[in-house]
């Protein structure tokens, strides 16, 4: 296995920025080092070959960036999170005539579709609009199609059952050409668009922002910037949902939120 060292990683980050404009400087170095080393192993490259690859620019450098930033997800990941949303957040959201939710770092849409199902079963979906954003156009294209391999649907169905779903997950997709296609009725109130949490700004005001397992990509300084963006994107009394192991610690916004669920890191903006 080829292992990169930190100095080599820094040179790589600089070169990627020069060639593509994409800036990894706010990303957590230990994870980047691991991901970049795995990229080399997967593509049986050494560092020199990776440089040659990146120098090609275009699709080649984009592929590298994509593999280092892609956020792996599942529908109804952490079932207890969805149970808590149903019992502790939805009643509040129901008081709004129009509900805007943002799934930041949505990858191929798993969480956005999960929220859509949750809202549908609570009778709120018709007046909801879910924005799913990611910095990768490739995963967004996949999200817009709403297509998943059947192999994944087994895990997703198990998660849905654990999340106390009211029906069967198969009620929300159909199978075509050995793949699961999320029903168009669920997709109609979801907008998938490009957004880079490290560079782009506020684009709307939301009643709920879900940004789960994304903060672990960033270093301390960048993490604070992203928290500021999420804070400014929330309306007063809006909800911020983080990953199961991501707290507001070191965010600089600890005082601006009250804890709705400490175990699941659901917070409400109070000032």
């Amino acid at each position: 296995m080829v292992l990169l060292e930190y100095q080599e990683l820094e040179l790589l980050i600089t070169r990627v920025r020069e060639i593509s404009g994409f800036d990894f400087s706010g990303y957590a170095r230990p994870s980047l080092l691991r991901r970049a080393s795995r990229y080399l192993a997967k593509h049986t490259m050494n560092l020199s070959e990776l440089y040659v690859h990146i120098e090609q620019g275009g699709k080649a450098v984009y592929d590298f960036i994509q593999e280092l930033t892609v956020n792996y997800s599942e529908m109804f990941r952490d079932a207890d999170f969805f149970i808590a949303l149903r019992s502790e957040v939805l009643a509040y959201l129901a008081s709004y005539p129009a509900i805007r939710l943002w799934v930041a770092g949505c990858a191929s849409g798993e969480e956005a579709f999960s929220l859509a199902i949750l809202l549908k079963e609570a009778g709120l979906f018709e007046r909801s609009l879910i924005y799913g954003t990611d910095l990768s156009e490739r995963v967004l294209a996949s999200a817009r199609e709403g297509v998943f391999g059947l192999g994944h649907m087994r895990t997703f169905s198990e998660n849905y059952m654990l999340a106390e779903g009211k029906r069967s997950l198969s009620d929300y997709y159909h199978v075509a050409y050995n793949q699961a296609v999320i029903d168009a009725t669920l997709r109609k109130n979801i907008v998938f668009s490009l957004h880079d949490l490290t560079g782009d700004g506020v684009f709307n005001e939301f009643q709920m922002v879900s940004c789960r397992n994304v903060m672990i990509y960033f270093n301390l300084e960048q993490r604070q910037k992203v928290f500021k963006l999420l804070y400014e994107s929330l309306g007063m009394f809006g909800f911020l949902c983080l990953g199961k192991r991501e707290t507001l610690r070191y965010s600089g916004f600890e005082e601006n939120f009250r804890i709705i669920n400490a175990h699941l890191n659901i917070y409400q903006k109070i000032k």
Binding site: Y6, P30, R34, R35, R38, I216, L220, R249
Partner: protein, 195 residues
């Protein structure tokens, strides 16, 4: 007047899987007085495991125990346990980093992930140890740590409940110290309290 300087960080890394839990409990019990190192345990657990190891081991040691979160600083005199479903990485800035890239040998947390990141961090590793388990995880990381000049130990496969993990480590690198049944805990205690 000079500022009192804190002791430099030293890591003691422990990895294990099936059959290691009992050993880990015994090791925790060895920590009977303050440690001049941070002890980091990585044990394979399913993603839905709710076991809170600091809680389970409460009362077995007087040393502080934690399940670290992303960016928590790593400190001497603390025992850390990797949480399920994330790799636990050691950063050169002496902080923990959580990572959710794919599993190594079907495991997240993976022992290799922590061991390799620690070896690359530049932080002093007093020792790294590998115990019973049924997978190949940990072997590559332990080898890297040994190659960088740090002390490495494996439980003798002959008395490991699941010998595959330590046997794999020895097959990849034969310079690891062997922890035998007769003296395993004496040796570990002397590592924990060496200076």
């Amino acid at each position: 007047m000079t500022e009192p300087h804190s002791n430099p960080l030293n890591l003691v890394l422990m990895g294990g899987s099936s059959g290691s839990f009992v050993i880990f409990e015994q090791i925790v019990k060895l920590a009977t007085k303050p440690l001049s190192c941070a002890v980091i345990f990585i044990i394979h657990r399913g993603k839905s495991s709710l076991a809170n190891l600091p809680y389970l081991f409460k009362g077995k040691t007087t040393v502080k125990m934690e399940e670290p979160q992303h960016l928590d600083p790593i400190k001497n005199d603390c025992i850390y346990f990797a949480i399920p479903d994330y790799h636990l990485l050691v950063g050169p800035d002496e902080r923990f980093y959580l990572d959710d890239t794919e599993k190594d040998f079907f495991s997240r947390p993976s022992i290799n992930a922590t061991f390799i990141s620690a070896a690359q961090s530049g932080i002093n590793i007093r020792a790294a140890m590998l115990f019973s388990g049924a997978s190949q995880d940990g072997a590559a990381g332990l080898k890297l740590i040994a190659e960088r000049g740090f002390a490495t130990y494996v439980q003798n496969p002959d008395f490991a409940e699941m010998p595959r993990m330590t046997a794999e480590a020895l097959s990849q690198y034969n310079g690891h110290h062997i922890l035998n049944r007769e003296n395993i805990f004496e040796e570990i205690r002397s590592v924990l309290y060496s200076t």
